[in-house]
Symmetry: C2
Subunit: 107 residues, 2 copies
């Protein structure tokens, strides 16, 4: 995810998941990523979850406006409600403006 280096926005979503296979979570999460990709201003998403159930997802957006539109997306809102009711015990969302980025890759 190299397309957000400065002036773009990161939405940092941390959550604790009630681990239970076959509860529809994986399908819903994949579908949300697909749907996010289709939104105007979407730049990318990265996700990691450890065996302890704690996960971090960072999505990247061109503007605050794009973030707001995605938040208001009806299907996204409905899935968030499911998340609250069924999949997560704790969630935090932070919206942050990216100031700079750097990195490297082993050749």
């Amino acid at each position: 995810m190299d397309s957000c280096t400065a002036g773009c926005y990161a939405v940092i979503f941390t959550s604790v998941r009630d681990a239970a296979e076959g509860d529809g979570y994986a399908e819903a999460a994949d579908h949300m990523v697909e749907l996010a990709r289709q939104q105007p201003g979407f730049l990318g998403v990265e996700s990691a979850r450890g065996a302890d159930g704690f996960g971090i997802t960072v999505s990247y957006w061109e503007s605050e406006e794009a973030i707001r539109a995605w938040k208001q997306h009806a299907e996204h809102a409905a899935t968030r409600e499911q998340g609250r009711a069924r999949w997560y015990t704790t969630c935090t969302t932070r919206v942050a403006r990216v100031e700079r980025a750097y990195g490297w890759q082993r050749p």
Copy 2:
């Protein structure tokens, strides 16, 4: 990690780890967290890594100055070099200013 809600900074560090047990990584990572906790302006840290080796660590800081000081900390710099040589195949760091935060916890 509720102490960074607005006006503070998030350092989003993503990495791909060359999985190998007993290479000193876990000890070094724990030690870096201990050391970070002692730095002025440190607000917290959250970390998740999946079985695929992709990980996200977000640390939270009061100011850009605090982030710079931690970056320049000699032991931190030496451990970063080890990370590059031994533990990671890809790393990206983003510094972002937190605009707002919200969340909930299941009662």
